[in-house]
């Protein structure tokens, strides 16, 4: 599961990937031309619509709106989720009291809370940020917890045997050793956060990307609707993959170069 989110980083040859993309788009184009559904545009129509929306700036301003709750929510989820996860991994008492909550939150359909949150906090920014946090934080916290728990006990023993202090144990051994799995959890959390942001905009009140989707649908501009959906999916996938590249560049010297 750890490597599941590395679309750009898996080792399929580039040529195969291009072929795969080409086949997918070709199938889309052909399906669109058969007119099996009045609301299914062809690939080229969708790309044209995407270009139009990019050119007139509507796509850009929609992303600007959508990214606000997403970024705020993700920053909050990262700060709280990682600290809670690490704390649960290091301390039994923190684990006992907090872990069941996060386990419940991860296994349960948290999206069901979005209507409730809208009901209480209205249709503003707070609700949207909360929607992102609810979806992104549990997976970040649980993975940070697991990553700390999975640190090789012999590495910790090694640090102890050289009389490392608890502080040194945590900062020199446990956190670096836990970081690969923690980053994998963060990537999953970011992906969930995208889901939360889109869901919030579709459910709470149409703004940003959600507004573009809802509006295009209501005026039957299905090529525009598909273009927006395609763009947000691509945006999410590319963001998550870039995070992985960034992680390798910044934190994993042993994977760099040879």
């Amino acid at each position: 599961m750890t490597g599941a989110l590395g679309v750009l980083a898996d080792n399929t040859p580039v040529l195969w990937r291009l072929l795969s993309l080409a086949l997918f788009f070709a199938a889309w184009e052909i399906a669109g031309r058969t007119n099996f559904n009045y609301a299914f545009p062809t690939f080229f129509e969708t790309m044209t619509a995407l270009w139009e929306m990019t050119a007139d700036g509507s796509l850009f301003s929609a992303y600007l709106r959508t990214l606000q709750p997403l970024v705020i929510g993700l920053v909050f989820s990262l700060a709280v989720g990682v600290s809670a996860g690490v704390l649960m991994g290091l301390r039994r008492d923190a684990e006992w009291i907090t872990l069941p909550v996060f386990i419940t939150m991860q296994a349960a359909p948290m999206a069901a809370l979005i209507p409730l949150i809208t009901f209480v906090y209205g249709i503003g920014m707070t609700s949207k940020v909360l929607a992102v946090v609810m979806l992104a934080m549990p997976v970040i916290a649980i993975n940070s917890y697991k990553s700390v728990r999975n640190v090789s006990p012999s590495l910790v023993d090694m640090c102890k045997s050289f009389q490392g202090s608890r502080r040194q144990q945590v900062f020199r051994i446990i956190l670096p050793a836990a970081s690969p799995m923690m980053f994998a959890g963060i990537r999953l959390g970011v992906a969930e956060g995208f889901s939360g942001a889109v869901l919030a905009e579709l459910l709470i009140t149409p703004t940003g990307i959600g507004d573009l989707i809802t509006y295009s649908r209501s005026v039957a501009q299905f090529d525009h609707m598909y273009a927006v959906i395609l763009s947000i999916v691509a945006f999410a996938v590319i963001t998550v993959s870039l995070l992985q590249l960034l992680e390798t560049k910044l934190f994993r010297p042993e994977k760099r170069g040879t």
């Binding site: 989110l5 009291i97 991860q106 999206a111 999410a236």
Partner: protein, 250 residues
């Protein structure tokens, strides 16, 4: 030691949170949380309404339908990717894309293609569950021990027999994928109904929020959570049985 010392206090900690919830509710500290006792009292009220029974029917049927579809398609897709290299190269990227994509954004498309009813919810469940099942099945097939395969061909096993060996040795991974698919599927069934909003649970939520029935709202959420956690627990038990021989395998 972990098993024994772990299970019991896990429940106890949730009780602590329930008590905190009750206190917050009683003193109206956070608007989001009505007293937990009110929520509990609302549960019978929610369960006995005809619209709840209708919602439960839709939820269970579309969940099971979507999940069954995801299991069949996911395992076949995973087998295909694990066994046929070109198929893997073509499909792997898309499976990974759909795993990290915000699938909620696809629901409007599904709604247009499949209408505002149960088929949309079924497809949503399918979309949420299928990719992780495919990916884990693929991993399971790729991890089948080569010596096991050499053994079976050296003893002249038929094609059908070898397929069976592959499926059985990939079973732990398939089940792990299925468990994740079960959890994702619950999210799918809820999100699908929320977005369609005129049937099932989605309609109930709309009803409760129009009438300011906070406790009912929470009662329904608790029922959904219990459904999700119960399913996850069930699959977890099943998985432990399979891991019995998976542990011996590695």
């Amino acid at each position: 030691m972990e098993l024994y010392g772990y299970k019991v206090p896990k429940m106890a900690a949730l009780l602590v949170w329930v008590v905190i919830w009750e206190i917050i509710g009683q003193f109206e500290l956070v608007m989001l949380f009505p007293p937990f006792s009110d929520v509990l009292l609302a549960i019978p009220d929610v369960i006995t309404t005809p619209s709840f029974l209708e919602a439960a029917r839709i939820t269970v049927l579309s969940y099971l339908g979507g999940l069954a579809l995801a299991l069949v398609v996911g395992v076949s897709l995973g087998l295909l990717m694990g066994l046929v290299k070109p198929a893997d190269r073509l499909l792997n990227m898309w499976v990974n894309v759909f795993l990290s994509a915000p699938l909620s954004a696809l629901v409007p498309v599904i709604m247009i293609l499949f209408g505002m009813g149960m088929p949309t919810v079924i497809v949503t469940v399918f979309m949420f569950a299928v990719w992780i099942i495919a990916l884990d099945t693929r991993a399971g097939v790729l991890h089948v021990s080569p010596s096991l395969m050499e053994m079976s061909s050296s003893f002249g096993a038929s094609r059908w027999h070898r397929m069976k060996i592959i499926l059985l040795s990939a079973l732990p991974e398939i089940l792990a994928g299925f468990r994740l698919g079960v959890i994702r599927g619950v999210k799918g069934v809820v999100i699908g109904q929320l977005l369609v909003s005129i049937i099932g649970v989605g309609a109930l939520f709309a009803l409760y929020s129009q009438n300011f029935l906070m406790a009912h709202f929470w009662a329904l959420i608790l029922i959904l959570f219990a459904f999700a956690l119960g399913l996850a627990e069930m699959i977890g038990r099943l998985e432990q049985r399979v891991e019995y021989y998976a542990g011996a395998r590695s």
